[in-house]
């Protein structure tokens, strides 16, 4: 059962990833990316990361992807006849070679390592959200604050960049 769910989610995400890269119409690419994100959320559920799966659906599929689609429709791009790079064959060869090498190395290597302090039973006793919350507000508090400052900076930067220049701005720049 678990194996079938994993096979379904991974196959669909690979196909959706391929379609995101290969489709011609940008809106279709966005829809394919949505499929990919939802199935990756399914994989997270399989890995006992329910909180992260919800965050993936709410933040990625709900906010980031809508942002992409908004900009796509705002710009109203016409689909280019030549939508791929001119040196396609060379790039494809290099990328496929890199991917094959990666796969060979990964499948052939042993995955040892130190076990952490959060085995599945302990985590599932209080729920994953509880475990993530305790960890993020104790050990990773500084990183959490840094992310907050980073997001504030990103929002301010995006607004400043995308703001329509008004006449007052040009006046102050010239004067």
């Amino acid at each position: 059962m678990v194996l079938a769910f994993f096979a379904y989610c991974s196959l669909v995400s690979i196909v959706a990833g391929f379609l995101t890269v290969a489709l011609k119409n940008p809106v279709h690419c966005g829809i394919a990316l949505l499929t990919l994100l939802l199935h990756v959320a399914g994989l997270f559920v399989l890995l006992n990361a329910e909180f992260l799966a919800m965050v993936q659906i709410i933040v990625y599929a709900g906010a980031i992807l809508v942002l992409y689609l908004f900009v796509l429709m705002l710009l109203n791009l016409k689909t280019d006849e030549r939508y791929l790079h001119s040196k396609l064959a060379l790039i494809l060869f290099a990328a496929v070679a890199i991917c094959g090498e990666l796969l060979l190395l990964i499948v052939g290597s042993p995955f040892g390592g130190l076990k952490g302090d959060a085995p599945t039973e302990v985590v599932l006793k209080d729920g994953v959200s509880y475990a993530v919350g305790i960890k993020i507000f104790s050990d990773y508090l500084l990183q959490f604050e840094i992310i907050g400052v980073f997001l504030t900076g990103a929002i301010v930067g995006a607004i400043v960049l995308a703001k329509t220049p008004t006449s007052a701005d040009t006046d102050s720049r010239e004067g």
């Binding site: 933040v59 980031i64 939508y83 085995p119 599945t120």
Partner: protein
Amino acid sequence: MVPLSAYVALSAVLFATGLIGVLIRRNFIIVLMAVEIMLNAANINLVAFSHYLQSMTGQIVALFVIAIAGGEAAVGLAIIIVVFRGKISTNVDEVNLLKW
């Protein structure tokens, strides 16, 4: 039980797909979408190792990656809007001047 190497192989394939997308597409927005694919591949890796090595750290780093992806999308799309306003093109190979 799904072996860890299956997740890591899936993540490698997705990452390579995203890398190919970044390299071969001309539309700036699709390039950003391909970057999102790569970030998702990294997230799968982090969560899979977090599960199999029984540590919460991977999930928390994945959470941070999602936050950073949000910031990246916002700033990247703002840059696209600025470029589109000035030059009426969002193809990466035609945007080759920093100042004009």
